[in-house]
């Protein structure tokens, strides 16, 4: 089981846990405010944008080319931006904290 903390834009933090699927799906299951996942996770909408904490960046790693092409055009993108649909929920990301963009 991986435990993940989501912080929404109104600063509400929610701790959730999971061991399968991707982070966007986990957020939807737990009704995290601000994560929409409109396209169902195929990387065509950017409505599941999150910021990873700098200290967690190595656990998660950088986006691939397709994802970074998508992020490039989002005005809210920072150096710690990811699309949560492209992050698998496994033990490797246990304990991370992410902010909803």
């Amino acid at each position: 089981m991986a435990q993940i903390t989501f912080i929404s834009s109104d600063n509400k933090s929610t701790v959730v846990s999971g061991n399968s699927g991707n982070l966007m799906e986990l957020a939807l299951q737990n009704k995290i405010e601000g994560i929409e996942g409109n396209c169902g996770g195929v990387c065509s909408c950017a409505t599941c944008h999150i910021y990873v904490q700098p200290e967690d960046w190595t656990k998660i790693g950088p986006p691939n080319e397709m994802e970074s092409d998508m992020l490039e055009f989002d005005d809210k993108t920072t150096n710690y931006s990811r699309l949560s649909c492209q992050i698998q929920v496994t033990d490797a990301i246990d304990g991370i904290v992410v902010n909803v963009a």
């Binding site: 409109n38 195929v42 990387c43 065509s44 909408c45 092409d69 055009f73």
Partner: protein
């Protein structure tokens, strides 16, 4: 096995120059064909504006038949965002459980009805009906209102004889005027009332502005949804194994829907007007001339999509632009996706297979390019499970 093959007429031009050229009522269009370039131009609203005179960014241009600005579609940032904010929440309602349940009842009833018929014509007897009925949910108006909308036919500005029919548009305008008048004296819980109560930058939306939103909602979601529905039915008729696959693995539905929408790209392109002299793919674009964002071509870009000309229902990475990209991305996408999800769920539950009896293609004439966007008619039989 050919009715559901939609070839890509843009391939050669996309690979060679990245630009296609077409004339449209003496207002030529430089069509941007590559995926990256389309996304870049869609993002760059400062150089490529939607706020031109009403109708000009549409291809074929509606300048001669429409003077009302469609909102938020023909407005640039920052004003665009203010308009969009007042309607955004309303357009998310398709995600609510009750909406999905009512949509399911509508579509199941329709499928059960056509299952009893020896054959039926999909565009008029199924897709148009489905689309109109579903739209009553988005408007939150009585189901019976769909009858009136069905009587308008598949496209609100087009008729059999003419791609742009001013008289036909007036039917829609008069209808909207009447509904807005009724709503202002006796507001209900519908879309009209929401618009008339909305405030943008501290000012109430005017009747003219509300009308601009409503025309767009009627026009934008009509032939796009009809084509998505009809083309998908043609696809499953010719790919019974795909229907079986989804029956066994319904968790694939969201991915499958994105892929069908990528492949069919129901809206071929949308124009913009250049605000300054610029260059696209080494092609000079003069200020005040038109470009287009060719979603249909971008969605077949072989540098982005492997096997771009095939329907791959479990395509995991699918950064398609069928619903547009950036600022003006489709406001009705939540509704359209929900319609497709409920339709496919109903098909896999009730329909064993589909036979095509007759098909007539709807081919768009885009200068050098001829693109199949759907069907003028498609006659089929649904076989029961």
């Amino acid at each position: 096995m050919k009715e559901s093959i939609f070839t890509d007429p843009f391939k050669k031009a996309r690979q060679e120059t990245g630009i296609g050229e077409m004339d449209d009522q003496n207002d030529p269009v430089a069509m941007i064909l590559g995926h990256k370039e389309v996304r870049r131009a869609a993002h760059n609203w400062k150089s490529y504006s939607s706020g031109a005179i009403p109708g000009r960014i549409v291809i074929p241009s509606e300048v001669n038949i429409r003077s009302i600005r469609q909102i938020p579609f023909e407005v640039d940032p920052p004003q665009h965002g203010a308009y969009r904010e007042v309607v955004e929440k309303w357009f998310k309602r398709p995600l609510e459980k009750k909406y999905e349940e009512e949509l399911t009842l509508q579509i199941e009833a329709l499928v059960i009805e056509v299952l009893e018929q020896d054959s039926f014509e999909v565009i008029h007897d199924f897709a148009l009906v489905l689309q109109s009925q579903a739209l009553t949910l988005l408007f939150n108006v009585p189901f019976e209102e769909a009858q009136t909308w069905i009587s308008w036919g598949t496209h609100v500005f087009r008729s059999k004889d003419s791609a742009l029919d001013g008289a036909k548009a007036n039917v829609l305008y008069d209808y909207i005027d009447q509904k807005l008048a009724e709503s202002s004296s006796n507001p209900g819980k519908d879309f009209y009332a929401v618009l008339l109560a909305a405030e943008v930058d501290g000012k109430k939306l005017s009747a003219e502005e509300a009308k601009g939103v409503l025309i767009l909602t009627f026009a934008g979601g009509r032939d796009t949804v009809i084509n998505a529905v009809t083309n998908s039915i043609a696809y499953f008729a010719e790919h019974p194994k795909s229907l079986e696959w989804l029956r066994k693995e319904p968790e694939l539905l969201p991915t499958a829907i994105e892929e069908l929408i990528r492949y069919f790209s129901p809206l071929t392109q949308m124009g913009r007007v250049a605000t300054q002299d610029t260059m696209v793919c080494q092609h000079a674009v003069k200020a005040d001339s038109r470009i287009s964002l060719c979603w249909a071509s971008a969605n077949r870009d072989e540098t982005v999509f492997e096997n771009a000309d095939e329907v791959v229902l479990d395509r995991k990475a699918n950064p398609h632009v069928a619903f547009g990209f950036g600022t003006h991305n489709c406001l009705g996408a939540t509704h359209a996706r929900q319609v497709m999800k409920v339709l496919l769920r109903t098909l896999i539950a009730k329909v064993k297979s589909i036979d095509i009896h007759d098909a007539k293609d709807n081919i768009e004439d885009l200068g050098d390019f001829k693109r199949k966007v759907g069907f003028d008619s498609l006659t089929v039989k649904f076989n029961k499970i």
